[in-house]
Amino acid sequence: MRLPFALALAWRESRGSRRRLALYLGSVSLGVAALVAITSFGANVRTSVQAQARTLLGADLELRARAPFPDSVEAVLDSVRRSGVPLARVTSFASMVLAPRTGRTRLIEVRAVSGEFPFYGTVATDPPGLWTSFRATRTLIVDPAVLVYLEARVGDTLNIGDARFVVAGVVTRAPGDAALWTAIGPRVFLPAQFLDETNLLRFGSLAQYRAYVQMPDDDVQRFLNRHNALFQRHRIGNETVAEQEEDLTRAVGRLARWLGLVGLVALLLGGLGVGSAVNVFVGDKLDSAALLRCLGARQRAVLAVYLLQAIALGLVGAGVGVVLGLLVQAVLPMVLSGLLPLEISTALQWSPILAGLGIGVGTAVLFALPPLLRLQAVSPLRALRHDLDGGGRASRLWRLAVYGALFIGLIALSVWQAPRRQVGFAFAGSVLVTTALLWLTARSLMGATRRWFPRRASYVVRQGVANLFRPQNQTTAVILAIGFGVFLIATLYVVQRNLLDQLALDSRPDRPNLVFFDVQLDQRHGVVRVLAERGVSALGVTPIVPARIARLNGRPTDSLTADTLGRVPSRWALRRDYRNTYRDTLVSSERLTAGAWWVGSTARREGELPRISVEEELAGDLGVRVGDRITWNVQGVPVETQIASLRQVSWARFEPNFFVVFEPGVLERAPQTFVLLARVGDATRRAELQRDVVLAYPNVVSVDLTLVQQAVDGIVSKVTLAIRFMALFSIGSGLVILVGALAASRLQRIREAVLLKTIGASAGQVRRIFLTEYCAWGSLAALTGVLLAGMAGWALVTQLFELRFRLPALALVGVWATVVGLVAAVGLANSRAALSKPPLAVLRELSE
């Protein structure tokens, strides 16, 4: 058969089933929509980043350090400035800010600005134009959230450390800001010349020192190359526009790809829908295929006729999906807003559209092929004898080829969509495993229902449940698809709830909810006294001693990182700033895994090194074991120690936890700060206590953990919202399959309704039978998803996050009930014809 004829025949052959098939292919549409939406969103973000990269950084080069730039670096910067290159400085650190008028305090990021920063883009303020003028006077401009937290307004005075400033206005928009972050970590900007008056940059405070330079890109590279060694030596990091652009593009691209994987699930579920729909279609077309064979068509031609139909309809389904995806893409910035530091311009991107079409058609064809093989193998004899059993079995070679293609297709799609190749393989693997698990769960639930359903239940209920096993009922496909969506959403929910529950400190009266940081040695007793005046006792006073690693087993860290042979300790672990403590007991979030704790044996013998305990994973990163020696640089003083034990630490607890703990009697005289914990039940009293401490000791930073908890809550909800949004596509695919399955069994349903009415059933009884069937459908689907979600949630919470697991049973029951309601509503809405048609009309059709 020539192709044009096959095309013509395919077109004619599809008459009468086009509308129904189009519905099935709608299940591909949703998946394509999800992918197109997320990929074109990603592409739009990339273009926006390219257009705005320079504005996002605000300069051509950023230099940054954890400590003030040393003189040698300052000398370089000086010579740069003298040569006429614009230079700006931003020093930022966290500090308590107090509004005397309202008595409110809050931990806020302080940024001291000097120079014409930003060189690119403008900071919009209210009242306008303040950004350049406010620095001449003793004034501040602040993020709007600062005023909200402090219940202050423009014109109020704010205390920062020992200095007082008047709020001149608010920042309405600054380049590079993500709305969410500025709401959680709001900033005040103060003129750099007043920074010293605050007296805040003391020992142990964490500050970021940044210098911004404006120079042509070529000069930037030359400048960096020339001073590379100097910057390396003094731990000065740098960021160029190109790097910034690359980082952002990569981060957003990764986000888009992860979300795309969730969309891919919807697409694969859609493919499942196509498969089961085509299976029904094939059942209807066996006679036509046999007839074509009788009339002399070859096997391959028969397959071509129906494959062309699948391709054409796949194209229609994918086309609808692309249009839908472009519409959704316009909504995505709203869902993701707050997570991104730039404005996203929405433009039509061609590559995601073409990719969406290709993927849609590919998926439709791949999933349609296995059932279509039955048509290809049909016996011509069937044209004469209808009762000949349904279709032949395709040859083993054909089946192997088709299932192989399906498998390779799945892996190719996953790898293409995934952020990394391994993730792609892992995704394809987990899709296969999850599908298998869902399938097993669905089948065993169905089996159990069939086997143990009470024989004594009313007829209506029994008939409804029995209908699940009606021929061509697609029960398994529907349960799989809806179950998958429920599984995704419920798993997210379970994990989210468990994470947030761990932070719910208010409910546990023994846990601290107020933390004071940066308490200096001479302030320790004073802060405790302020607490005591308010009737609050400190739950713990923990010393913190900053230090760096100087030598491992006698070898200097520089030579270790330069070593190219053998196992090199992680650079991060070697070079980071450690904040160590000392104590004589283990705390509740720790468990000893190797060596011995120094219980009762604090007296050290002469000639022995001081003992330390190292966190297990850090020990792995450093490549050290019990007995190894670490020499610390404690503010210039070398302290050699020996590892006495390794500990496992549960970091998720809101407690001061440490990588390295010293035994007492070593660091008591070293420069150190303290952390104090307290618990105050009442929110107003917490605020008052914070105010009192700030008034007495402006440098002491206090954090109300309940506020932190709310902030974390906000971030987690925002992130999960995006994932949930994508998971909705899976549920949508499930419902489309449900509608398709209902359409496939429509005639059968009408006949059944008429039969029942003819032998005396009332319309109400028939409706209740259908309702039971849909409820059973929804129940099994939701149960399948919820069961697996419970298990997956348990695994994630206990294994990945290493937290205690609690099953949010009530909420899961809610999910289950919602799904049942949804399925029942969609089902009944699609069964009106079966319920309302007068029986005689159908009887006439049947007999004449």
Partner: protein
């Protein structure tokens, strides 16, 4: 009279134009009668049977079943009447594919409700025994031959001890021999239970076994004759 019709008329719209399927049907059927309705395709046989069972409201005229005017009853009231008084046998058997033979026979009893479960099951088993399927009660329709399926259909029709049994071409999908066996069964059960039997058929041999044959052509009764019967 168990069944009475007066000036019965049924009109459907077909392609937007009215199509009169039955007109001027006046019938009286006495209890225990065995009536065959014959006629060519499209003569209105099935429609007549359906109207006698109250499956739709007549466009004009009156149908009375055991004294009740079907046209004045609601859809559900007519369904209840059928559950109590009418058994139905279909040309294409129309068994529930998801139910076993026994469960299929039980459906009318269960729809009617209020029955003692054990007693209903006993009756259903006896009926299946009676139609020769005592050993196949737990089989699903797909596991039964056409003749066996129709015998389940007959057992189901008699399950609720109806006063009237309506059969629409009950042998139409069966070969001659199987068809004869099914008719034997119908006649036998009809005689034993004292049911009124109205049967639509194409088959003259089958019609010959009835006591009365009504011929329909183009929606009107052209002949209504008593025969010898069997």
């Amino acid at each position: 009279m168990i069944i009475e019709t007066r000036d019965l008329e049924q009109t459907y719209s077909s392609g937007g134009r009215p199509l009169t399927v039955l007109r001027q049907i006046n019938l009286s059927i006495a209890p225990r009668e065995f009536v065959a309705v014959m006629g060519p395709s499209g003569s209105g046989k099935t429609t007549l049977l359906g109207l006698l069972a109250g499956l739709d409201r007549p466009t004009r005229g009156v149908v009375r079943l055991d004294g009740d005017d079907l046209g004045s009853l609601s859809e559900d009231a007519r369904a209840r009447l059928r559950a109590e008084k009418v058994g139905f046998v279909f040309q294409t058997f129309q068994l529930m594919p998801t139910l076993t033979a026994l469960e299929n026979v039980l459906v009318p009893l269960e729809l009617r409700g209020g029955a003692d479960g054990a007693a209903a099951e006993l009756r259903a088993r006896q009926l299946l025994e009676r139609v020769g399927l005592g050993d196949r009660v737990d089989h699903y329709p797909a596991q039964l031959s056409g003749g066996e399926q129709q015998r389940v259909g007959v057992a189901r029709a008699f399950a609720a001890e109806p006063k009237v049994l309506l059969a629409d071409e009950p042998t139409g999908s069966l070969d001659a021999e199987t068809g004869r066996a099914v008719i034997d069964l119908l006649v036998e059960l009809n005689r034993d239970a004292g049911t009124t039997l109205v049967l639509v058929t194409h088959d003259p041999a089958l019609a010959a076994r009835a006591r009365r044959v009504i011929r329909l052509v183009g929606g009107t009764i052209v002949a209504d004759a008593r025969t010898e019967g069997q």
